[in-house]
Each structure stands twice: as C-alpha cells, then as structure tokens.
C-alpha cells in the first residue's frame, strides 16, 4: 500500500511536469549544454564547422580583458543600487493600490503603465528628457535653482541614471507580484487585528510582511536575477558608454557573441556569468530561507 502510493505520486508528479520539462530540456537545457561546450572552443559564428576545442584559452584571455573586468563591476554596481530602490518602490505601490478606494483602477493602470510600454520608447523618451541641453528635466532643475546635470553623458552619473530609469520602468512588475501575494492574505486576519487594536503599521509589520514572505523571497530572487541580466537600457541609451561605464556583463556577452561573432569567447563569459549568479543565488537562498522547504 505504502509503496503503491509512492509510485503513484511519482507518476502524477512527472506526469504533471512532463510538458514543461520536455520544453525546458529541448529549448533551454540542451542549448545551455551547447553553450558550455562552446566556451571551451574557438567557435567563430561564420565558420561553425571549423570549431575546435581549445581548453581554457578563452578564460585566460577573458581575465586579461579590461572591458570584461569593468563589466563585472558595472553589473554589480547596478544590482546593488536597483534592488532596494525598485523593490521599495514596488512594495510601496502595492500597499497603495491594495487599499479600497474610488478610482483605484486608475492608479493600478498608471503604476503598471511603464511595464507594458516597449523599452525602446521608454529609453528614447528618457534620452530626450535627460538631454543635458534643453532636456525637460534640466529645464525643471534650473527653474528650482539646481545646476544642469550631464546625466547619461557623464561617466560618473550614467549608471545611476540607468538605475533610476530601470527602477521606474520595472517597479510596476514587482508591484503586480506583491499585489498577488497580498491578495492571498485573507481579509479576516486584518479584521481580527483591527479588533485587537493593531495600528496600520503594526498590521503591515506583523501580518502583511510575515504572510508575504514567500512572495518577497520570490520577488527578491527573480528581481536580483533579472537585474544581473541588464542589457536593453544601456544598449539603447548609452551603447555601454561613456568610457565603458555602463557596459554590463550580458551586454558584453551580446557584443562579443553577435557583433564580433566570437561565439566561443562570448560563451565563456556566459559561463562565468551564470556561475557567478548561481553562487550568489545559493548564498541568498541560504540567508533568507523559506519556511516551507521544497
């Protein structure tokens, strides 16, 4: 009986998993294995048949490549800044729209609006707005007596500007996820808390946050990973410049792989990139352990 049940669970488990697993293996796992293999070859996109195994050659070159080293620091800098800014904003927005009020629908749509807009239009728009000469932001700054800022054209400010634009663009996404989590908290918990005389803040801190924990962990993890994958904003707004100050790892993977056609070299960066984030993710998961382990 016991054994029978176990077999049944396995059949059900893998049965439910089958469609996703098949697709993932075909379209993700196998490609990843191919990329891992490429990382140790001299694969040049235009001569795939001449591909040869060259051992650790790519990695040796990589660590002598100043742009690669710089891209690591730029990426880390971006991640360190964007996580608190974007998640803070997202949580705040979720709390705002989670309250019943007239016209709430408008706010929900407004906060989410940047998410549905194409990154290209957002990048073009901010490029115009942030133009050091006659851009709207600087015009406004001057009106309140602050000197014009170079923003994206300054090697010092460019990355922070991208952090700001990205957080502004992406926060609606995490707001949606937080909101989903908050809706999962039964309303009567709050009613009980209200009767017990909890203040709004106490309700947030002692009820919302603990019950939201799985969502927070999920959002933190996925945002962290997608922050590491930053590419479109610097690609459109700064082309990685000025002076490589916004060159990120994935952008460099793209540039070496697609523009320069160095499939092997690019794959070796990809391998380092994934290993690095893999380790960070493991550490992060150890630090913020979920109550209910899988």
């Amino acid at each position: 009986m016991f054994k029978n049940k176990k077999v049944k669970e396995n059949i059900i488990g893998y049965g439910f998993l089958a469609p996703a697993l098949t697709l993932l293996i075909i379209f993700l796992v196998i490609p990843v294995c191919m990329v891992i293999y490429y990382a140790f070859t001299d694969y040049y996109l235009l001569t795939p048949e001449a591909r040869q195994f060259i051992g650790l050659e790519n990695f040796k070159r990589l660590f002598a490549d100043p742009i690669f080293i710089k891209s690591i620091w730029n990426t880390v800098k971006f991640v360190v800044w964007i996580i608190p800014v974007q998640l803070g904003a997202a949580l705040g927005m979720a709390l705002i729209v989670n309250k019943q009020r007239k016209g709430n629908m408008f706010f929900k749509v407004a906060f989410f609006a940047p998410v549905v807009m194409s990154l290209v239009v957002i990048s073009i728009l901010w490029l115009y707005l942030l133009n050091p000469n006659e851009g709207l932001i600087n015009t406004l700054l001057e009106k309140v007596g602050i000197a014009s800022q170079p923003f994206l054209t300054s090697p010092k400010q460019a990355m922070y500007t991208i952090v700001f634009v990205s957080a502004w663009q992406g926060a609606g996404y995490q707001m949606l996820l937080f909101l989903g989590g908050m809706q999962n908290i039964p309303g009567d918990v709050y009613e009980a808390a209200e009767i017990d005389g909890f203040t709004k803040f106490e309700q947030f801190w002692y009820i919302t946050m603990p019950l939201l924990k799985p969502t927070v962990i999920f959002v933190l993890l996925t945002t962290l990973i997608s922050a590491f994958k930053l590419i479109v904003q610097p690609m459109v707004m700064t082309q990685g410049g000025p002076m490589n100050s916004t060159m990120t790892m994935v952008y460099y993977i793209y540039q070496t792989g697609f523009t320069d056609r160095l499939g092997g070299y690019s794959s070796s960066i990809a391998l380092i990139f994934t290993t690095m984030i893999g380790l960070i993710t493991i550490v992060q998961r150890k630090l913020v352990k979920e109550d209910k382990e899988v």
């Binding site: 749509v109 989410f112 990973i225 984030i277």
Partner: protein, 282 residues
C-alpha cells in the same frame, strides 16, 4: 468618523495623482507626440507643450493615416494577437501543471529538479539564441508559427510563481476533494486553477506582454512576411532613415493599446484573491 478624514483624503488623492503622473507621463507623451507634426515634437521638447497634442485637431490623425498607408498594420496586429494569446494560454497550462507538481506532489527528485529549474532562471536569452535556432531548425520548425511560441513557453519563472500560489492553498481542500472521489486532473482543473486566479492572470498578462514585445526571435525563425508580428513593423519604422518620430509614436501607441486592455481585464482577477475572500486591507 468619516468627516474627520476628509481633508486627509483629498491630500492623499493629490499625492497619488502626482505619483501616477510620474509613471504615466511617457505614455501621455507617446500618444500626444503621435498627434502632431514631427517638427512640433522637437520644438516642444523643452517645455510643457511636449504633453499637449497639436492645437489643430485636424492634424491629430494624419500620422495614423500615413502609418497605415505605409505598413500593413492589420496583418501584424492580428499575428501579434494570435502569438500573444496562444503563448499566454500555453504558458498558463504548462507552467501551472509543473507548479502544481512542485507544490503538492511528493515525487522523487523534486528537490534536485527544482534546483535545476532555479538555475535555469539565470540564463539570459541572448546566450542561447543561436543554439535555440539550431534546435528549431533541426526540428523542422523554421517559418512555422509554432516556432514563435514554443521555445519560451515553459518558463522557470512562471513555474516558480505558480508553485508559490499552490503551496498557499490548504492541503485539506485537496484531501476533501479526493474523498469525494475526484481524480487528480479534475482537482487541478476544477479546484486548483480556479482558486489561483491571481496567479493565472499574472502569468497570462506577463506572458502576453513578453510575447508581444519580442522582436528578435520571431524575426529569426520566420521568413514569411505575412507571419511577422507588430514588433517587426516597429523596428522597421524606427530604424529606416529618416526616422519620423511622430510615426514611431503612432505605431507604438497602436501596439500599446492591446496591452493596456489585456492588463485592465486581467487585473480584475489579480485582485480577486484566494477563493474570492480577499477584499483587501480595509
């Protein structure tokens, strides 16, 4: 009690509207810029006039007429809608099934597979583009519509999201359904899915947006123009010199409207909550 809160309420609304403005103004700029001649877009750039349409209402739709004349927008829109809907429908089913398995079934190797799944989250799409194409090609799917939607359908992110929702559903509900004689598939479709409408809606919306905004992949696997999506038109118009910014904005406006509609429809479900009991914080 209510009366005392009033002025605070008004203050709250003013703040909220300002905040909403911060998020909504690019969309406003986009729509407004599509409704004036190109030169005006640039002439107005450094003043608040940037957010007002042309003062001459007869000019409002000329850009749209030009764009529709230049491109077969209708075909692209229909293609995009087909890809978006099938992709998000497929995403919901495939990922919800897997998420359910991780949340509620105790099969052997669950921990390891889930670990691998999380590892897959890390892979940037740019990295696997060429190998993915190789595979699509060897499966004979090039220039098939299926090639557009299949590769990204199973997503570690969405599986993870579903799993989190399903975990929150009490075990007793499943047990009592089992006692009533319901099979596992029936439980999944009749109980689990309807109970996790917020997750279904979230995955649906996010998948739809992802599919809608993807340019590179459809272009790579399709050769037949009648199968191209809206993004291809946007790219063409945005990169063919000279670029007319008002036309770019018109195309973008056309392509953003469906996304807003999808979101408005879905957000109703996102806020429905578990079993309809989530009325939110009062």
């Amino acid at each position: 009690m209510r009366k005392k809160i009033r002025p605070l309420r008004i203050f709250e609304y003013i703040l909220l509207i300002l905040l909403a403005g911060v998020f909504i103004f690019p969309m406003l700029w986009m729509v407004v810029s599509s409704m004036k001649p190109e030169a005006d877009v640039y002439l107005n750039l450094s003043s608040l006039k940037a957010f007002l349409p042309s003062f001459n209402p007869s000019e409002w739709f000329t850009t749209y007429k030009e764009v529709i004349k230049r491109f077969s927008i209708g075909t692209y829109l229909i293609n995009s809608i087909i890809y978006g809907l099938t992709f998000s429908f497929g995403s919901i089913i495939v990922n919800a099934l897997a998420g359910f398995a991780f949340a509620k079934v105790n099969f052997v190797g669950k921990k390891i597979i889930f670990g691998i799944l999380l590892a897959l989250l890390i892979i940037p799409v740019e990295v696997v583009l060429i190998p993915q194409f190789t595979i699509v090609n060897s499966l004979g799917l090039v220039n098939k519509r299926l090639a557009v939607i299949l590769p990204a359908m199973a997503s570690a992110f969405n599986i993870y999201l579903f799993r989190n929702f399903f975990i929150a559903i009490p075990e007793e509900i499943i047990e009592s359904a089992k006692l009533d004689g319901a099979g596992i598939i029936r439980i999944f479709f009749r109980i689990m899915l309807p109970m996790s409408k917020p997750a279904v809606a979230t995955v649906g919306v996010l998948s739809f947006i992802a599919s809608w905004n993807d340019y590179l992949w459809p272009l790579m696997v399709l050769t037949d123009r009648s199968k191209f999506s809206m993004q291809v038109a946007i790219t063409t118009i945005n990169t063919t010199q000279p670029v007319y910014i008002n036309q770019v904005m018109a195309v973008l406006t056309i392509s953003t409207i469906p996304l807003i509609i999808v979101y408005i429809v879905a957000q109703k479900y996102i806020l429905q909550g578990l079993g309809g009991s989530g009325t939110g914080i009062k």
